[in-house]
Symmetry: C2
Amino acid sequence: MSKNIITISREFGSGGRTIAKEVAKKLGYAYYDKELVKQISMETGFSEGFVEENGEYASAKNWLAAAFSHLSFPGVMAGPSMDDFLWAMQRKVILDLAEKGKCVIVGRCADFILKDRTDCFHVFIHADPKARAERIVRRYGTSEQSPEKRLDDKDRRRRLYYKHYTEREWGMAQNYHLSLNSGEIGQERCVEMIVQLAQAL
Amino acid sequence: MSKNIITISREFGSGGRTIAKEVAKKLGYAYYDKELVKQISMETGFSEGFVEENGEYASAKNWLAAAFSHLSFPGVMAGPSMDDFLWAMQRKVILDLAEKGKCVIVGRCADFILKDRTDCFHVFIHADPKARAERIVRRYGTSEQSPEKRLDDKDRRRRLYYKHYTEREWGMAQNYHLSLNSGEIGQERCVEMIVQLAQAL
């Protein structure tokens, strides 16, 4: 039996998205990344930019609000936050897509959302900070923030988001079947390994 | 350039030791596991049993003592504990062995101790609790404690030990170049992947 669904979680700047796209191409699987954002945007009515930013990252504003959400104010209704609504819809879209058949899904806690399906193969791509910093400058150019600061910020917010909704630690090897340091192993070899395993298992 | 040194860290019951032995055999590398314990025992004067138990696992007694070590009592000298001494000697033995050339080293925080060498390849082997529980019963038989309890206990003590001496989280994918779920991927395939990468990188 081959694995029908491959989830690829990745550190910012590790090349995980490029690897995922290549894996999908080689296996002839559907590839859900921007497509996923588009669908979630349609289902929720939120803009694609909003979904992209808030469906994987904790934002300082919302998380500060969450920290004080136990304080109730007279006349103010308590209820799920916008983040919680987005999470619920994102979860539903991912579960539905998985039903449609062979695909590669990038990020968005899909490893957790699909953890009980036995036809999934969960991959985590990471790399050393130096390799990631070089890659984001090459790919996205420089900005006012140093690349190290950008990595730190993204890592921290992704970790917070993952922890909040999954109650697991982001980046723990035990959450994945295969974890690869793409800087050390090389992107092409990562692609080959994932493709081979997806076909063999 | 091939990788001269392969460190294999593993969850109890994941088959990591068996995989490590097979990798060493296929690559024709020296294999340090019991051999390492023997050397540390010779250098420290501690028994092999003591080294085996205290060189990777936090023991309740010692760690309770450590928790109160900031309290000083008149006339009692503060100094490194027996665990700290064992750690220092273990570290020295591992650094020396790495100098000797091609080898596979199992456990004992070797991934951390050798993290600055560029000729090392760091691997983490894990598996789902169910697969590990079945394996330890098959391998070590049953005992009064349930296999789940034995796994929990070992995991917790290993995590504590690793955290104390390395200040890193045990099992984080980022600490390794390659992390594999041996239950899902299969031991033979794990061996092949490690061997191929060690030769290719």
